[in-house]
Structures are given as structure tokens and as C-alpha cells.
């Protein structure tokens, strides 16, 4: 092989290596942007998480039809990025006939939770039971007193 032919072969090989081939030309492109996300934590009033509960999301412009769905994880948590619409987003978490609805006001600045359920303490609950029991006892005694009065007059 002459020197000229060797140079030609080398040039062809170099061109082949440097030229991007269609089969190996998948370029990776990334677009990054910030977005508002909502993190839900669903649990029963006993403190037990609502594991694998279904979540229905309603957008501000259409509170009747669901905007999206999701499922909570084992700890009753779910995170997702909202759409661009500002306003009141609604989230319903439900499982076997139990559930709750929460509303989130999304503004241009940040989402603000405006309504959610809160578990009562045992002290509050016992106080309410005691009040109802007191009312029932009063009702019972009132009825008994009236009955005794009626019997005495008869």
C-alpha cells in the first residue's frame, strides 16, 4: 500500500469516527423549572395512617370533575405537583367509606391550607362525654321527679 492510499484510509476512518451517526445520536435535554407541590398526610382520628387510600383532586376551575387521582403510600402520604391554575384546590382522601376533604388555596406565592380536620385530645373527648352524661342524667332525674309527683297527686 502506498503512502497516499494509507493517508486516504486514515482520513476515511477519522471522518467515520467523528461524524455523528444517526443510530447513536440520542441527545439528552433537560428543562428545569420550579413548581408548587402539595404534600398530603391522611390518617384516622385514632392516629393510624390511611395507607393506600385513594385521593381525588379537584381543580379550582372545575370542582365537579376530578382533575387527577392518586394513592397514598404506606404512611398515608402523597406528594404531587399542582397545575398552573391559582385558586382553591380540593383533595378528597377516601378508603372503605371513610375519608375527608381538604382545601388548599394556591396563590402565586405559595399554597395555603385553609381547612383541615384536627384530632381531639382524650381530655376533650372525655369532657364532652361527661357533659352529655350529665345532660342525660338530668333528663332521667327530671322524668323520674315528674312521675313521682304525678303518682303522689293521684
Amino acid at each position: 500500500m502506498t503512502l497516499l492510499s494509507r493517508l486516504c484510509a486514515l482520513t476515511v476512518c477519522a471522518a467515520g469516527c467523528l461524524t455523528p451517526l444517526a443510530a447513536f445520536s440520542h441527545a439528552a435535554l433537560i428543562e428545569a423549572e420550579t413548581a408548587q407541590a402539595v404534600r398530603l398526610h391522611a390518617f384516622y382520628d385514632t392516629g393510624k395512617p390511611m395507607s393506600h387510600a385513594q385521593v381525588i383532586i379537584y381543580a379550582p376551575d372545575n370542582p365537579v370533575s376530578a382533575w387527577g387521582q392518586g394513592v397514598t403510600d404506606r404512611d398515608g402520604r402523597l406528594e404531587f405537583v399542582l397545575g398552573s391554575e391559582t385558586g382553591r384546590w380540593s383533595f378528597q382522601v377516601r378508603q372503605s367509606g371513610h375519608g375527608a376533604m381538604v382545601h388548599v388555596d394556591v396563590t402565586d406565592d405559595a399554597p395555603v391550607v385553609v381547612a383541615t380536620g384536627g384530632a381531639q385530645s382524650w381530655g376533650q373527648r372525655l369532657l364532652m362525654v361527661a357533659l352529655v352524661a350529665w345532660g342525660a342524667l338530668g333528663t332521667a332525674l327530671f322524668a323520674l321527679t315528674r312521675r313521682k309527683g304525678r303518682d303522689a297527686s293521684a
Partner: protein, 207 residues
């Protein structure tokens, strides 16, 4: 086992109110026809409190948690008085504890009042001959019937966007978890009526 607000369609909630209002009207009519309705008020007041407080007694039955319902006990002990007593108890539970919704109060009333009346019917039919069997059947049967009504309402009112298969599976697990509760409530009614028979037979319901 109370339906919260927002779980069922508005039409179902309104139908629940209409049906429970009819049931309360019938119950009040039957109560008024009794010779001395006021004589029952002390017992009704005390049992309403027991029913109201019972929903706080949560018992973990993996993978869920159940709480006492006492519909069978209310039906057997109070007769037709059980209907207004349960409705008042449910209203207080919804307002004070957040157990059940106000929009679903009618449906929740049906879920517990109908089993209570069935328990009463069972007690009246066979309580005289087999009091223990009737008491256990009334307590346990009321839980089973209540679960069946609850499941029927939940599955009928499922929104289209929900995964119906997953919800059905969750309801089945929830219903199975209530079987121990059914046995427990059967034993509660059985023991209570036995104790009353020995200590104070005058307090026993009409069999």
C-alpha cells in the same frame, strides 16, 4: 362506622334524610301510642349516653380499627325509642367528635336504626322461648346488618373517577374486620340481659 361528609352523592344524602325522617315519624307515632311513654325516658336518656360514648371505644382489628355500635342493644332495650335515641346520639357524635357527617346524618341513622328494629323484632319473636339465643342474635345480627347496609351505600355511591375495584376490596376487608365486633356485641347483649334477669327483672325489655 359512620359515613362522613362528602363521601356519598348529594341525592343519596337527601334520600337518607327523607327515609330517616319517615322512620322517626313512625317511631314517634308508635311511642305516642304506648300507655305511659314518659316512664321510659330515664332508661332512654341513660342508654343514649352509653350509645354516644361507645363510638370512642376504638378496638384495633388489623388492618383496621372498629368501634362499638350497640344498635342491637338499643333495639332490644328501648324498642321504638331506639330510633330517636340513635338519631340524637349520632347528631352529638357528628357535632362533638366529628364521627360521621351532618349531611350524612340521615344515612347513618338508617345504617343503625334499621338493624336496631330488626334486633327488636328478633327479640320479640323468640326472646320468650330462647332468651339467650335471641339476645346474642340481636347483638351480633345488628352489627352484620349494619355493615351490609353501610357497604351497600358506599358501593352504590362510588364516584366514577374512583378505582371501584380497590374500594370494593377495602370495603370487604373492613366488613371482615367487623366480624369479631359482631361476636363481641352479641356477648354484650347476652350478658347484660342475663344480669338484668337475675338482678332486676323489671328492667328487662318486653319479650
Amino acid at each position: 362506622m359512620h359515613l362522613p361528609d362528602g363521601i356519598v352523592p348529594v341525592e343519596m344524602a337527601l334520600a337518607g334524610y327523607a327515609c330517616s325522617a319517615g322512620l322517626v315519624a313512625v317511631a314517634l307515632h308508635r311511642i305516642k301510642a304506648r300507655p305511659d311513654p314518659q316512664a321510659e325516658i330515664p332508661r332512654v336518656a341513660m342508654l343514649t349516653t352509653v350509645f354516644f360514648a361507645a363510638s370512642l371505644a376504638a378496638v384495633p382489628v388489623p388492618p383496621t380499627t372498629v368501634h362499638l355500635m350497640l344498635a342491637g342493644l338499643m333495639g332490644v332495650m328501648l324498642g321504638w325509642f331506639a330510633v330517636p335515641a340513635i338519631m340524637v346520639g349520632l347528631f352529638l357524635q357528628a357535632v362533638l367528635f366529628g364521627h360521621g357527617g351532618l349531611t350524612t346524618l340521615g344515612l347513618n341513622g338508617l345504617i343503625l336504626c334499621l338493624p336496631a328494629l330488626l334486633a327488636l323484632r328478633l327479640w320479640q319473636q323468640i326472646g320468650g322461648r330462647w332468651p339467650d339465643l335471641a339476645a346474642f342474635g340481636a347483638g351480633a345480627g345488628a352489627v352484620v346488618v349494619a355493615i351490609a347496609i353501610f357497604a351497600a351505600i358506599v358501593l352504590t355511591g362510588l364516584p366514577a373517577e374512583l378505582d371501584a375495584r380497590a374500594e370494593r376490596a377495602a370495603v370487604q376487608i373492613f366488613a371482615l374486620a367487623h366480624l369479631p365486633l359482631a361476636l363481641a356485641e352479641g356477648v354484650i347483649v347476652l350478658v347484660l340481659l342475663r344480669v338484668l334477669r337475675r338482678i332486676e327483672p323489671r328492667l328487662l325489655p318486653d319479650g
